[in-house]
């Protein structure tokens, strides 16, 4: 949402970083705004800016991969792999494709891995997602999407260690339109690479265009 506001601030003439004292609202007498500022919104693409909290449960990796690199990183007991999970924030920008209701989104995850000892491992992930959504009511929207990209783990064991892997995930999400420009949503994802890896997110999104300009 903040990014949307910033974008608008950059392109709205009267808000280019200087103050302007308007002396009249009459066309031809105004000094700060030109005619038709109200028409600007309709010319914007229907961008969406999501901020989400994610939680991911791993079936096996990254524990296996990282313990292979450095067995001391994870708190393993005997031959049993510990449960591993990650949590963090997901930031996402999306836009509809010409072939509606398809959409494309890019997202960045920043978080941490649990079940590790004694170090703290960071997770960063960047993926692109392609999906389709449909309104089941005016305010409830369902989406299905496929996300692919990569992730990197980094942790300290005297020196910084890193590891990475690919990501391919199928997701379903449901969003509720609280207002024409604001949604709250949850999603569930499952990895198509590592069976059993599951991701849950909850968050909110700001939409530049009302209802993503869906109802045309």
């Amino acid at each position: 949402m903040k990014a949307a506001l910033l974008l608008l601030a950059l392109v709205t003439p009267a808000h280019a970083g200087h103050s302007c004292a308007e002396t009249s609202e009459v066309l031809g007498h105004r000094r700060c705004t030109s005619f038709g500022a109200w028409g600007g919104l309709a010319r914007f693409p229907s961008l969406t800016f999501d901020t989400e909290l994610f939680h991911e449960d791993f079936a096996s990796p990254p524990v296996g991969a990282m313990t292979a690199v450095n067995p001391g990183v994870f708190a393993t007991t005997g031959t049993t792999m510990p449960d591993s999970s990650a949590w963090g924030m997901r930031f996402r920008v999306g836009a509809p494709l010409l072939l509606r209701p398809l959409y494309l989104a890019f997202e960045l995850d920043i978080g941490g891995l649990s079940s590790i000892n004694p170090s703290y491992a960071l997770l960063s992930q960047a993926v692109a997602a392609v999906g389709a959504h449909a309104h089941v009511t005016q305010t409830i929207m369902l989406s299905a999407e496929l996300a692919g990209g990569g992730r990197m783990y980094s942790w300290m064991t005297g020196a910084e260690e890193t590891d990475g892997q690919g990501v391919l995930e199928a997701r379903g999400r449901i969003d509720w339109w609280a207002t024409p420009h604001l949604t709250f949503g949850v999603s569930l994802g499952t990895s198509l690479i590592d069976a059993g890896d599951q991701t849950f997110t909850v968050g909110f999104a700001g939409h530049l265009r009302a209802f993503d300009a869906t109802f045309y």
Binding site: L8, G36, G39, P180
Partner: protein
């Protein structure tokens, strides 16, 4: 298509520093039939023309040397509409009661049809004058062409 004109409400008074940004920050939208936005109620005569709720009122802006009309409008639909304020015809009377066709004061020739996004709103104030310099005492405007997506149908309003 899902029906338009939702339950979503407009927002209360916020200083008009930056309409567009405040709108999105507060998630304000135009509520069909409300004839109001974050600046308050629309002044003047209320008309609904297709998807457009339009209020036409007289403006007392001191910068205008002739009669000025304020247009306040909201899109009550879930799709953009074209607002064509350039299509408005204006007529007025001088001190002798003679009727004159009026023209909009638009030195930069900015008046043109523009899209108004779904559930969005706007305001404009336009000054009118006779083609010859005469004091004009009352004004009527034909707003039948304001909805640029529909055929013009004469609708005279005398605010």
């Amino acid at each position: 298509m899902i029906s338009s004109c939702s339950r979503f409400s407009n927002c209360s008074t916020i200083a008009p520093v930056n309409r567009l940004l405040l709108l999105l920050a507060a998630s304000c939208s135009y509520k069909a039939g409300s004839f109001s936005d974050f600046r308050g109620a629309y002044p003047g005569t209320h008309q609904t023309i297709g998807c457009i709720d339009l209020a036409v009122g007289r403006s007392a802006d001191p910068a205008a040397s002739g009669p000025a009309i304020s247009y306040s409008f909201g899109n009550r639909c879930l799709h953009p509409v074209t607002i064509d304020l350039a299509s408005i015809h204006a007529r007025g009377h001088d001190a002798d009661g003679l009727e004159h066709a009026l023209v909009a004061f638009d030195p930069l020739q900015e008046l043109r049809p523009l899209p108004l996004d779904s559930l969005f709103f706007g305001r404009e104030t336009i000054e009118y004058s006779a083609r010859i310099p005469l004091p004009i005492y009352d004004v009527c405007v034909d707003i039948g062409g304001v909805n640029g997506d529909e055929p013009h149908s004469a609708t005279w309003v005398c605010p």
